[in-house]
């Protein structure tokens, strides 16, 4: 207990020196230990795709008949602490989104462990909604699925719609989502997911969505969420938004953790690597 108090004092000193954000003692919120994630993909097998070839594979009991394994995350370990905002960078297909899904408990680990404080929430632009349903229905369903009560959904409905800006150009919220442009759909999804406060929040490229006005609005909301949430993870290809939001950055390449450190340091190396 004495140790905890001591660290708290230290943290308070930091806060006084540097101002906000408010710092609490070093309490881990996410611990990843030698995490491996493997995807099994059907229909991705090499070789001929004909029926006879498939039969041949089954008869010969060749391993992985029709299944291919993709080792997306290879032995990643780190500890995240309360109050941190952590950026995740790396080229396309380096396993960033997969790592976030695993932290959220949405993808089972092949080996290794992820320990988290409470239920982490993944806030992605790719969160599937039902395209045949109206935006209105999607807002309600999304809210209920996240675990909001009916009253809470009704209460927040208007602010979700206003935040998304869907109705700025007319009454689009009552149209099926399949009629939305991709930007509109992504904005609505982000707005739904951001309507709830989270212990551990992970944001997958959400800030790149939508027009400038919406980007500013969503960045503001992310800062707000960060103050309420314990820990924020942010995946982005926009180095500027990582710099603005995160003080710590993890760099993933080919599923491996290349670098974990202060944002400036990691970004410098990363920019060298990408040849910027």
């Amino acid at each position: 207990m004495a140790v905890a108090e001591e660290t708290q004092e230290k943290a308070e000193i930091v806060q006084q020196a540097d101002g906000p954000p408010a710092q609490k003692p070093w309490i881990p919120t996410v611990i990843a230990q030698d995490l491996h994630i493997v995807y099994r993909v059907y229909g991705g097998a090499k070789g001929k795709g004909s029926a006879t070839a498939a039969l041949n594979r089954i008869v010969r009991r060749k391993p992985g008949g029709g299944v291919r394994e993709v080792h997306a995350v290879k032995g990643v370990s780190f500890t995240a602490y309360r109050g941190q905002a952590i950026g995740l960078i790396g080229s396309n297909g380096s396993g960033k989104s997969t790592l976030l899904r695993a932290i959220a408990g949405l993808l089972p680990a092949e080996s290794g462990h992820v320990y988290t404080n409470g239920q982490p929430s993944l806030l992605g632009v790719n969160a599937a909604m039902m395209n045949d349903l109206t935006g209105e229905r999607n807002v309600v369903l999304g809210g209920l699925a996240m675990g909001l009560s009916r009253e809470e959904v009704a209460e927040r409905y208007q602010s979700i719609v206003d935040f998304s800006g869907i109705n700025e150009k007319g009454d689009f919220i009552t149209l099926p989502m399949r009629t939305y442009s991709s930007g509109m759909a992504a904005r609505l999804r982000f707005s739904i997911a951001a309507a709830k406060n989270h212990d551990v929040l992970m944001i997958d490229e959400a800030l790149a969505t939508g027009d400038k006005k919406f980007q500013r609005r969503s960045e503001k909301r992310v800062r707000q969420l960060r103050e309420e949430a314990g820990t924020v993870f942010l995946v982005s290809h926009n180095n500027k938004s990582i710099r603005d939001t995160c003080e710590r950055t993890l760099w993933l390449e080919k599923g491996e953790l290349v670098h974990d450190g202060p944002t400036e340091e990691v970004l410098k190396e990363y920019e060298k690597f990408t040849g910027k």
């Binding site: 020196a17 101002g19 941190q84 993808l107 599937a128 974990d260 202060p262 944002t263």
Partner: protein, 313 residues
């Protein structure tokens, strides 16, 4: 201290502390962290599921309306589809193959007999067929949001129940048209449907787990449910047809004890006036409840056992 101030407002690594010597698992235990996405205990799972009851209900309604939202006739298809099915079966089995013979209460009962059978069987059939895709067809949702996965198969069977209630409107019209007026015995529909709903939900849960592992089932299941359809006496009276081919009596008992046949017979008995109790298999209510409980509870536990693994792949 130097490290904490280096990286901006907040540090990246904590200052040295006794925690450093702890293994990740011990560190997690010390601060009360839990394994992400671990399977909850069965009572906890039931509690979580109860917490999402509004989601389950809203999801089933949304799916129901989404089903025909691209069609011009829209929701009218909910009633037209089973009617067209019944019309096809009437033409083939009633007219061409003379399935009308041997129907309890005479040939005049054939259309109510057939339509009731088709509607009730469709309830189970679509629960199975859609259950297979409950997880694999909603992977986006499963991978994006956290909720007890059993919500999906349960809301699918709930969706089919609502669909059946729509069909019931047509059924009532047909029944009245053939001189079967609402009576007290119609109330028997309620317990029969409740048992069938329990049975269907359990089956949808089982199919959802199997279908999430083996997507091939979606291709295979239509054939299995069609075989089941013919073996359950949807468009003919089973005991009569079996006696015609002089089948062993145990075969008839077995086919009549199969859950689809049990639920169909019960509802026919409830709504068709001249359908005698003697044409029901023995211990019919015990069978109806037994099948419902067995599948409902068994399917739920079977689905829960794999809860943390849905969404892989």
């Amino acid at each position: 201290m130097t490290e904490t101030t280096q990286g901006g407002a907040v540090g990246v690594k904590p200052p040295p502390s006794p925690d450093d010597s702890l293994s990740p698992a011990d560190l997690a235990a010390k601060y009360g962290l839990t394994v992400s996405g671990a399977r909850p205990s069965l009572p906890q799972y039931v509690k979580q599921l109860w917490g999402r009851r509004h989601f389950i209900l809203a999801f089933s309604r949304a799916k129901l309306t989404a089903q025909y939202s691209q069609a011009k006739l829209g929701q009218l298809w909910q009633v037209v589809t089973p009617l067209l099915n019944a019309a096809v079966y009437y033409f083939i089995f009633g007219v061409i193959m003379e399935g009308r013979k041997g129907i309890p209460g005479g040939q005049g009962n054939y259309i109510p007999f057939l339509v009731t059978g088709v509607f009730v069987f469709t309830f189970t059939q679509t629960s199975v067929l859609n259950g297979v895709r409950a997880i694999s067809g909603n992977l986006g949702l499963v991978r994006a949001l956290h909720f007890p996965r059993a919500s999906l198969p349960i809301s699918i069977s709930l969706q089919q129940l609502q669909q059946l209630l729509f069909s019931m409107i047509v059924l009532v019209a047909i029944l009245i048209g053939f001189g079967n007026y609402p009576s007290l015995s119609w109330l028997l529909i309620l317990p029969a449907l409740a048992c069938q709903f329990l049975f269907n939900t359990g089956l949808a849960l089982i199919m959802a787990r199997l279908g999430s592992k083996t997507p091939d089932l979606a291709q295979l299941m239509p054939f299995i449910t069609r075989t089941w359809l013919y073996a359950s006496g949807v468009m003919f009276f089973l005991p009569y047809q079996l006696s015609k081919i002089r089948a062993e009596p145990w075969l008839g008992d077995l086919l009549q004890a199969n859950p689809a046949a049990v639920y169909m017979d019960l509802i026919r008995f409830a709504v068709i006036d001249s359908y005698p109790a003697s044409s029901l298999p023995p211990h019919v209510w015990a069978l109806a409840l037994g099948w419902g409980l067995l599948m409902g509870i068994g399917g739920f536990v079977f689905f829960w056992k794999s809860e943390e693994r849905y969404g892989r792949g």
